[in-house]
Amino acid sequence: MKLARKIEEKFFKALMFLSTVFILIILAIIIYSIFEKGLKSISWEMITQIPQGGYYYGKGGGILNAILGSLTLAFGATALAFIIGLPVALYLNVFLVRHKKVITIIRFLLDLIWGIPSIVYGAFGFSLMILLGLQTSLLAGILTVTLFILPIMIRSMDEILSTVPIGLQEASYSLGSNKSETAFKIMTRQTVSGIITAILLSFGRAIGDAASVLFTAGYTDHLPNGLLEPVATLPLSIFFQLSSPVAEVQNRAYASALVLTLIILLVSLFSRGLGKRYHKTKINF
């Protein structure tokens, strides 16, 4: 008996260890290949200039159009999704508590649309544009990406809000808070670090997706120039550079991927730091 338990323990420990190592190695290979190919062609010029004529055939210029485009689009979509998503998540966890079946159905639907591929959102966004009379533009891109990241935004905030102990909610109500006070002043505060994670996940998804912006935000070699003009995005920029027959341009694609990775890294470090600062004042029993 004792021996069996020991073997079991060893086996699962080894299994966990190996899985973790496996994932880390894969990650390291991806990051290595981005750095290895990207570092060769990354330059100051590349991140401060827009593409010049013939850029995709090896002429000079950079991808500033895509960097700024991606940033505006992702920030815009994340902000919009947050503004819509937080009330939804709070509504599920504060106002609908008496209707468990409705909550289950809504959660199920959100999980379902979470799995829809982004190209479908792109197509949907495109038909929406026709309906609204919009052309490919930053606005259309933001709207489509917002729809695309809303399920992840809502569900991850919903998950964290559902961990708020019922005792804390009772404490809030017992003081005479109404439901919106409990939602915004107590529940949201209690889960700040989790909500930051939700925003971060959504931002990562928003800035990294190519298919949803292909038909909706379009592409341009110019800098973002207003909500109704098309914008370039990094994933599409990477795609176009990779499809170039010129090896040098293909390497620039890796440099662009490097830039994208660094943006995500910076944004997540920044918001982690923010969350941690808040957390430090929170945990301590």
Binding site: V97, A171, Y173, S174, G176
Partner: protein, 253 residues
């Protein structure tokens, strides 16, 4: 000895699905006294307490019927403003739940809900309630720290101060010392004994000695029913029902 009744519970029944949690409860809770609801775990004490400030509304599975009259007002009636109603009562739960904000703001939040807006007034009252809950001396230099940094015993007294800050007439306490060390428990008990002059206190507990120490009025419950109620001398000194005798004798719990 006659005294004024503050809370009158009549024909209270609570169902969770087919399961009846409270059966035909009739209790009179005297004003400005400590009423202890005593009984083994799972006998419906906590549910009874939650009925009194309508926290039962948060649990869709609970069906509540009957009447709970506070100052001749049926609080179970649908038209009651439950947010106002809850401010008539301070709640102390089994374990403390400080709000996710500073020590100072835990109290100030309750004061603001009460409609107090002037900063000086708030300052004065925060100090007042912390003193009343026997916590001021320990936290006077830590007002801007998050409340969760306090020890559990301190947190529970903070929650008491917060409960008092809504200016209630009634204090509902649900085994408030069960998670605390002996010294903090003693603090809470002493505070209750002081507070009973101004407040009607309903304390749920399964600790016999605690009930004996601080109760004026005792309600003994078993499996969702009130078995016996009366003054502490009656119930402890001369219990009438067989089940009460057994419980007080420590034969079952």
């Amino acid at each position: 000895m006659e005294h004024e009744t503050k809370i009158e519970i009549r024909d209270l029944n609570v169902f969770a699905g087919k399961n009846q949690i409270l059966k035909n409860i009739n209790i009179d809770i005297p004003k400005n006294k400590i009423t202890v609801i005593l009984g083994p775990s799972g006998c419906g004490k906590t549910t009874l307490l939650k009925c009194m400030n309508r926290l039962t509304d948060l649990y869709p599975e609970l069906k509540v019927s009957g009447r709970i009259m506070i100052d001749n007002n049926n609080i179970l009636a649908a038209k009651e403003d439950i947010y106002k109603l809850r401010q008539q009562m301070g709640l102390l739960s089994q374990r403390p739940y400080p709000l996710p904000m500073t020590i100072y703001n835990n109290i100030a939040y309750a004061l603001k809900l009460r409609g107090i807006k002037k900063r000086r007034e708030i300052h004065k009252l925060v100090l007042h309630y912390l003193q009343q809950a026997n916590l001021w001396d320990e936290v006077r230099d830590r007002m801007r720290e998050p409340a969760v940094r306090l020890s559990i015993g301190q947190q529970q007294r903070l929650c008491l101060a917060r409960g008092l800050a809504v200016n209630p007439e009634i204090i509902l306490a649900d085994e408030p010392t069960s998670a605390l060390d002996p010294i903090s428990s003693q603090f809470i008990e002493e505070t209750f004994s002081k507070l009973k002059n101004d407040y009607t206190i309903v304390l749920v507990t399964h600790i016999l000695r605690q009930a004996k120490r601080i109760a004026n009025h005792v309600v003994f419950m078993y499996l969702g029913e009130v078995i016996e109620q009366g003054s502490v001398e009656e119930v402890f000194g001369n219990p009438k029902m067989e089940k009460t005798k057994l419980y007080l004798g420590g034969t079952f719990n």
